[in-house]
Symmetry: C2
Subunit: 343 residues, 2 copies
């Protein structure tokens, strides 16, 4: 038996692999969030959460960013989507012997800029150089803190309905909740793929620190669930939120924001943009009473393409897409991300 690419590709196969080979051996719940729940971060006391990600993106520098900005923003985004403010980080690098010092310096500059943009500090690190053909692998762990924005969100939310969680959870979606997408999709995955095949038509990765707008949405209040649609894209995020929350989600294709050049590129390659990775977007579940206010807050915070793309329902348990052709189809949980080493 051997481990396959799909076992680490962020989709259904990975979930099965982790259940069978990891959570059967190690699982723990210190406070509210259990390891096997596969949340974006886990709380280790009332005020703090921890998350980790290893970035293996290839190429390490791509249109719109690099493994440096990705390693900071990506991990901070996992903190932000449970409602935690990113504060402290670790940085562990595994570098291939012979890696270009110039590219390394560029990556370190991106890391420095990214930390400044989010307001996080790298406080500890590690460096290894290996002969294996890895290019560069960056691991960042992040610590996020409870903050007044999160408290405000829970207060507003609980004035409308019960919410059993102390952080914003991907399993918090309720029947009737609006589903809001913060902006246009599939840009990170498309930018990586376009660079690999030498197709250079201006597609940029969306790598971006979501805390900058998540905090505005939280301070408006009424968010019941959040997830950042990275590997496996919006399709994976919606399916996970639906399955964990025990509801279905109806989404409308013509409401899902996507840039023309990204749409054309995906059509050209036969890739489904719903399954393509994003690195600066958030899927929100919002109580219907607050949906318009949250949308307004997101637009004010710079997310001008934010859109209510659908709603949660207890009439079915799938993610159902109403297509622009007027038909509807089930959007399955992707078995894996269509693009290897995308993040």
């Amino acid at each position: 038996m051997m481990i396959r690419k799909e076992d680490g590709a962020g989709g259904r196969y990975m979930n099965e692999f982790l259940r069978k080979h990891v959570f059967s051996k190690i699982n723990s719940r210190v406070c509210e969030i259990e390891l096997a729940e596969m949340e974006d971060s886990a709380d280790f006391n009332e005020t703090s959460v921890l998350t980790t990600d290893s970035y293996v993106v290839d190429p390490p520098v791509f249109p719109g960013g690099s493994i440096g900005s990705l390693a900071i923003f990506g991990t901070c985004n996992d903190l932000a989507v449970v409602g935690a403010e990113p504060k402290f980080m670790s940085l562990a690098l595994v570098i291939q012997d012979g890696f270009s010092t110039e590219i390394f310096d560029r990556i370190m500059s991106d890391i420095s800029d990214a930390c400044g943009k989010v307001g996080v500090s790298i406080i500890t690190g590690d460096t290894k150089v290996v002969e294996a053909n890895v290019g560069i692998i960056a691991n960042t762990s992040g610590i996020g803190m409870r903050n007044p924005f999160l408290d405000k969100n829970l207060e507003v939310l609980r004035s409308y309905r019960e919410y059993p969680f102390t952080w914003v959870r991907d399993r918090g979606l309720g029947n009737g909740d609006a589903v809001i997408l913060s902006g246009s999709i599939a840009e990170h995955g498309s930018a990586i793929m376009a660079r690999r095949i030498g197709f250079d038509h201006g597609i940029q990765s969306d790598v971006f620190p979501v805390w900058t707008f998540v905090k505005e949405a939280l301070s408006t209040g009424g968010i019941s669930a959040m997830k950042d649609p990275t590997r496996g894209g919006v399709a994976a995020a919606l399916n996970e939120m639906a399955e964990k929350s025990g509801v279905g989600i109806k989404v409308y294709e013509d409401r899902i924001p996507i840039k023309d050049e990204v749409k054309s590129f995906c059509e050209l390659l036969g890739l489904d943009p719903l399954t393509m990775a994003n690195e600066g977007k958030v899927v929100f579940g919002v109580i219907p009473e607050m949906a318009d206010d949250i949308l307004k807050a997101l637009k004010k915070a710079g997310q001008k393409d934010a859109e209510i793309i659908g709603y949660a329902t207890d009439e079915f348990r799938e993610v159902v897409l109403e297509t622009s052709a007027g038909t509807s189809r089930v959007v399955p949980q992707p078995v894996s991300d269509p693009i290897p080493r995308v993040c």
Copy 2:
């Protein structure tokens, strides 16, 4: 310009590389411990520290342990040597496509056992599968907490002299302090090397959770400095402690514990055991008044080979070894670890 193996090998070259290419771009001090000080862990509030390590050891299973036990104990040991009790961990795996599921399961079992032995919980994780010939890379970050043992140590220490730090620091060594080594050296590096060349004479890695005896030493009190002698071995640890503390260290060769088979193996290969990696040992600086008590506590806690190997002095600034032949020589900071991918 390119990055070389030595730039990530835990010695003088790595320190130079980090100063030039990393700390020039990113550096931060949240509380007491600054990133560029290259301590084993960094404090992010009064009660908590964070550390991270990526493990690239090859082969992933070796006599005495595996990358699984190493990834847990190694990171917990970095917490322990600043006096913090290991509590919470992240685990991020990068696995080569085609890696054996059986070996993976063995590694996960070792991780589970190791967590149990230290009493830590893995609360969050990440999994990536790549085509690069990495075998398996494990990153663990660890959070450690202030505890009564550390408080007791500082109380005893400060009853004898000023100590400006709130954690135990590698730069805390004072003139006249005894230098205690917790046990026999060079076993991890030798075990890895022996396995690689197919030399199977029972040399086992010493991979072990040092918190089990560090806490007993702390509760005795009077420890001014600690470091775990991993990459670059005891030679690197002593040099870093001396340089950072602004003192010299005199050590006596015949007091340095080493097992016969390890000594013979190193002689056979022309390797200096002082520069070989350990994964379950600690170098302590201890105020002279408490040295015998600490030694007793260590032996009681199972470290029967613990020994006072020398003392700190302000008469010179080097690490000077008094050899068994009666001569003395300077032990330089290793330029790098003699064995690649040792941890």
